[in-house]
């Protein structure tokens, strides 16, 4: 399988008056061609900042991608990758990639469209900017895109304004805009969070179909474990700027290794099983200015040990192809592992 994007030791910080927030703190993952990587985590875990770092949309200042971070973009298979962190986010090379080869859709379809331009104009803007076409061709392309995302009567809809469309339709327009230049990577930041379940099902189905049609990779950022289970091939679980677990979607749900992942899965009520009391994760996410010294999850972890307070565990393979950052699996005897397995069972 060939890589499309490889993120290595990505660290993005914000220098505010109150101190430094390490929003993303040493993140590694790979997005393979035509696959979907899910990034899951709760608010403040750095999943959106990770996606904005790839897009080159971090506001500088106060934000900064720290030296040593790498975002390798394998533009052509078998050729040298481009390190996006070395490009000027406002420079021409980055702008030829952003919105063209790497496109993004945002959570809020209500606010991410411009209310004073027709949707056709907004889709055409990207097409004209990145491709050598005239206005007429661009409009035809826009209509074709609206058709591809399942908007009825695209010839009429193309001249409508965002307020004339429902939330689900607006998200379809966002997707049409993102896909209009045939990107190799689509970054989807909580694309269905603002939508109702029946509309969410429509949009997820649409994205799956379009992924095959356009042969693109998707970086799916969400807090919803159901959406991850449904869409992703591989999953990164983030907590406070760090990757705590990274594996394929089946291993993650069948055999979650990190206590945080286990806690998340136990906190969601089931749709089918017997109804029993939920097991929440105790406490709350620490203040980002005061991240614990060792493992960031240690204050909330039911298995915390002395070593967890001292040192952050590295992200390493605990099982074949299944990485986690937890001392329970790292350099300790089999004793703890069986204990944890017993606790999980």
């Amino acid at each position: 399988m060939s890589k499309l994007i490889e993120v290595k030791n990505l660290r993005t910080s914000f220098y505010t008056e109150d101190g430094v927030v390490k929003a993303v703190d040493g993140v590694d993952f790979t997005v393979d061609r035509q696959k979907t990587l899910g990034i899951v985590g709760e608010s403040g875990c750095g999943k959106s900042i990770t996606s904005l770092s790839i897009m080159g949309l971090i506001p500088v200042p106060p934000g900064r991608i720290e030296p040593g971070s790498q975002i390798l973009y394998y533009r052509e298979e078998g050729q040298e990758p481009i390190d996006l962190t070395t490009l000027d986010p406002k420079g021409k090379p980055y702008r030829s990639i952003r919105g063209n080869e790497i496109a993004m859709i945002f959570q809020e379809p209500m606010t991410s469209l411009n209310p004073v331009y027709t949707i056709g104009n907004q889709i055409m803007e990207a097409i004209i900017l990145h491709q050598k076409v005239n206005k007429k061709e661009a409009k035809e392309r826009a209509i074709a895109m609206l058709n591809a995302v399942g908007i009825p009567l695209p010839e009429q809809r193309v001249d409508e304004y965002p307020h004339q469309l429902s939330g689900g339709m607006r998200q379809r327009v966002m997707i049409a805009m993102a896909l209009s230049c045939n990107p190799t990577l689509l970054v989807a930041d909580e694309p269905t969070t603002a939508l109702d379940v029946t509309i969410q099902a429509q949009i997820l189905e649409l994205m799956k179909g379009l992924q095959d049609k356009f042969q693109m990779s998707i970086l799916m950022i969400t807090h919803n474990l159901g959406v991850v289970a449904e869409t992703a091939d591989d999953v990164v679980v983030m907590y406070l700027g760090k990757v705590v677990e990274y594996t394929d979607v089946h291993s993650l749900f069948r055999d979650p290794l990190h206590p945080y992942t286990q806690g998340l899965l136990e906190s969601i009520p089931s749709m089918t099983g017997t109804r029993k009391r939920l097991i929440p994760i105790k406490g709350m996410v620490p203040d980002p200015f005061n991240i614990p010294a060792g493992c960031p999850f240690e204050p909330r972890c039911p298995h915390a040990m002395e070593v967890c307070r001292q040192k952050m565990p590295p992200l390493a393979e605990a099982k074949s192809g299944h990485k986690t950052a937890c001392w329970l699996y790292e350099g300790h005897g089999a004793g703890e592992k069986t204990e944890l397995a017993a606790a999980a069972a």
Partner: protein, 360 residues
């Protein structure tokens, strides 16, 4: 009209034919040109000590039902009977002092813990305000009561002098819950109380609500769009679509054997956090129609995969199909609708079959 009155006779609240229309005004004279039928002839009941879940998509009128019950919005029509210790009272017929006294029995927890607390008031003032309004106790008594309430919702009573911004979302929601409980109410309308919270915090608040319900004998109207949360907390569930209740049943009955096609689609649309069980979904076409101009006949017919001619012309009646399982569909009983569990079992069977096929 279906008989939605409570047969056991231990209903705390009975709602009959509730309507709430919002006028649409246009032009210089602000003439009323149309009505938004946010709640359109809704009937249900809530038994003492139970949780009735109310689900539906945005714009279906579930929040308006909650607010109208509390008289935070004035109803257009209908009758709501609250069975108090002094006997039944029609909530829509009382006014002035009597209404104020009744408000002690009816409280609400709001969705957004960020905008429902006044940022200029301390936690003590926020939680104690209902006591001040109803002139309960001396200032000293009130302080004691506030400390007690904070403790009950799992907050440190020493936080009494702090301001809302010093708390996280989950803690703020606890403050909102403490405020709702201050007057020892009978019925609490929980309007999406956990929707704005992260999963790990959501579970804490759900457990807290369940504990408080047991301890204080509370009755909840639990309004939410998250079906797994509603399934977890509710004894019975009402499903709303475009201002109407389309189905109402015991939670297990609804999730195992839905009678209305909309409930079937809604249940199947929820993404399941299990990659092995990715099932065939019923994907509804199109969007929810506008409540200003609802479709003819059954409001659901333009999106319903089973719609027939009758559905286009005739509005179905909301009636009991046994065991107080209510549904508003012409073809309830004729349709063999699938529950999440049916789909899951099918999936499991086909998985087993394919495994057997590959091993043999």
């Amino acid at each position: 009209m279906a008989n939605t009155t409570n047969a056991n006779g231990n209903a705390l609240l009975e709602v009959k034919g509730l309507k709430k229309y919002f006028p649409v005004r246009k032009g210089v004279l602000r003439r009323v040109v149309a009505q938004v039928k946010a709640v359109d002839d809704v009937s249900f009941y809530i038994e003492k000590g139970e949780t009735l879940g109310m689900v539906g998509e945005s714009g279906c009128g579930k929040t308006t039902v909650g607010r109208t019950l509390l008289r935070l919005l004035e109803p257009t029509a209908g009758e709501v009977t609250l069975h108090t210790q002094q006997g039944p009272v029609d909530l829509f017929k009382v006014n002035g002092r009597d209404l104020k006294a009744l408000r002690k029995e009816l409280q609400i927890i709001f969705q957004d813990p960020y905008s429902s607390l006044n940022p200029r008031m301390t936690v003590g003032d926020i939680v104690g305000e209902p006591l001040v309004i109803h002139r309960i106790g001396t200032p000293k008594d009130r302080e004691g009561r506030v400390a007690e309430l904070l403790e009950a919702v799992g907050l440190n009573p020493q936080y009494i002098k702090r301001y809302p911004h010093e708390f996280s979302g989950g803690q703020r929601q606890r403050i909102g819950i403490a405020r709702a409980l201050a007057l020892d109410p009978q019925l609490v309308v929980c309007d999406e109380p956990v929707s704005a919270l992260d999963v790990s915090i959501q579970a804490q608040v759900i457990n807290l609500l369940e504990d408080l319900q047991k301890e204080y004998g509370l009755t909840f109207l639990f309004i939410a769009h998250d079906l797994s949360v509603v399934r977890h907390i509710s004894k019975r569930v009402a499903v709303m679509y475009l201002g109407k209740v389309v189905e109402m049943a015991n939670t297990e009955a609804l999730f195992q054997k839905p009678l209305h096609p909309y409930s079937e689609a809604l249940l199947s649309a929820v993404p399941v956090p299990n990659p092995e069980y990715q099932m065939e979904r019923i994907i509804l076409e199109g969007d929810v129609p506008s409540p200003v101009n609802p479709p003819s006949g059954c409001y659901f017919h333009p999106r319903c995969p089973y719609a027939k001619e009758k559905c286009r012309t005739e509005a179905p009646v909301f009636k009991d199909y046994g065991n107080r399982h209510f549904s508003a569909c012409h073809f309830t009983g004729e349709l063999n609708l699938k529950s999440v569990r049916d789909i899951e079992q099918e999936r499991e069977a086909s998985l087993a079959q394919s495994e057997a096929g590959t091993s043999s």
